[in-house]
Symmetry: C2
Subunit: 280 residues, 2 copies
């Protein structure tokens, strides 16, 4: 947890993708007086992420440049944060360093998680210490077992959570995605590369009459906890409500809550539950 | 195969859902001089399916009515054909016979395939002989191993077919869906309840640069071959082309081709492959 880390840890490198997580890390470091240097990934990170902070933009394929930027800015500890829409090999235009990496690991044969794990290993070989975003955020970014807000799952929702958990585990084990939507035992949708928001939007048109379904979002089995940790925000709650769901179940101790207070507010207002579950 | 069946088999009952398959069966029986009686499922079968043929409309929940209709019309052999958008328990309004069935099998705990298998078993207990639609159609409705039209998969597409096959097997084993789309090793989408057409439509917006992906559609492992056999038609080819795919792989000997000639014409025209694969 962040509270146990001394403020003298040195400069933190943040490799930033899309969404609000990179900015939250920047602000968390700023509040603790820790220096950061951000490598913003072109086509992924938003411009507002790197406002008023030391940073450089970098293509995903420009690995040599990224490594040089991190080293010349004195980074030793590194965090990967935010989303990356995985590009095809044809569009990635790898520089020599990225090409060497892909030749080693093989691009095609790796799922998202496999590829990210390989990237982490490679960065460790290069001498960086990789940490998880959750280790840099407050304890409030974690979810414990049980309901987060005022609503708890009904018995019917609990049955859908149980089925959704089995399916999300299996689908995650294939390195396809983290999330599924289940209603009355029916699998309405499985997340692949489109992401959770798109999954929820499409499930709005697939819902059956009667009690609404649940979103179950879990860490992939064997996934490196430092990368691509399942994340939900107030937006997830809003979309779940619009899809007619009764609530959201995420993995206790293995999920990042963006804006915990906003999630609770949105869930209570919409009458949805957000619950942390243990899956083993 | 149909050619081996005598024309004196007696009246065929067709329980008809959506799509063109029920009408094809009706026409195939007509060409062979075999009588049919159609139970058209309300909310699933289209009106044109039952034009000029002995039939009655029936709600999905009205099991006693359906059984009575079949018996009083002298049906002993029965085929289930066409799609059914599975309703929620809340909307199914089961009559006493359907309620008895659901009490026995449990609605919630069954996936699509599990539920259909239970329906088939129940119909057999009621004394009907269940046969598969493919047994009533010409040999042309089957696909053998290898390409159907003029285009064959590239080495790259073959790698995506191999990955897609592994994933479709696993996803089918969970009774989620039959189809997946893979591009350059990435799983762009997994079919759940939305069906293959909707999967293809959404993958159009998810494709990466570079060589296009493949649709892999397989029978679910352990699925009763008489029901819900994977089906493709010219529409599948058109949507695959619009999604930027290189082609379609289906299970040899376990797939129904609606309009074989039209599929070949559409595939050759769009430069797509349609290939039968063995998966074991």
């Amino acid at each position: 947890m962040a509270g146990n880390r001394p403020a003298t840890l040195g400069k933190l490198g943040i490799i930033a993708g899309s969404g609000t997580l990179p900015r939250r890390l920047i602000e968390s470091c700023r509040a603790k007086g820790r220096d950061v240097f951000v490598v913003a990934l072109r086509g992924a990170a938003e411009p507002e992420t790197v406002e008023n902070v030391a940073h450089a933009w970098c293509r995903i394929g420009a690995a040599a440049t990224a490594l040089e930027l991190l080293r010349s800015n004195g980074v030793t500890e590194l965090v990967l944060a935010g989303g990356i829409r995985r590009p095809s090999m044809a569009s990635i235009r790898p520089d020599w360093r990225a090409a060497k990496f892909f030749a080693k690991v093989g691009y095609r044969m790796l799922g998202d998680d496999g590829l990210l794990s390989a990237v982490v290993k490679e960065l460790e070989i290069e001498g960086f210490r990789l940490i998880g975003a959750h280790d840099l955020l407050d304890d409030g970014a974690e979810i414990a077992e049980g309901p987060l807000g005022q609503v708890a799952p009904s018995a019917e929702a609990a049955a859908d959570i149980a089925r959704g958990t089995r399916i999300a585990r299996a689908v995650g084990g294939l390195d396809i995605g983290q999330a599924v939507v289940v209603q009355q035992g029916l699998v309405l949708g499985v997340e692949a590369i489109e992401g959770t928001d798109a999954l929820l939007r499409r499930c709005a048109g697939l819902r059956r009459e009667g009690p609404g379904g649940v979103l179950v979002k879990l860490q992939k089995p064997g996934q490196d906890a430092r990368i691509d940790r399942p994340t939900i925000g107030a937006q997830t709650v809003t979309l779940a409500a619009e899809a007619g769901l009764q609530g959201i179940a995420v993995e206790a101790g293995a999920t990042l809550l963006l804006d915990r207070d906003e999630i609770i507010r949105a869930a209570d207002q919409a009458g949805l539950f957000v619950v942390g579950v243990r899956t083993e």
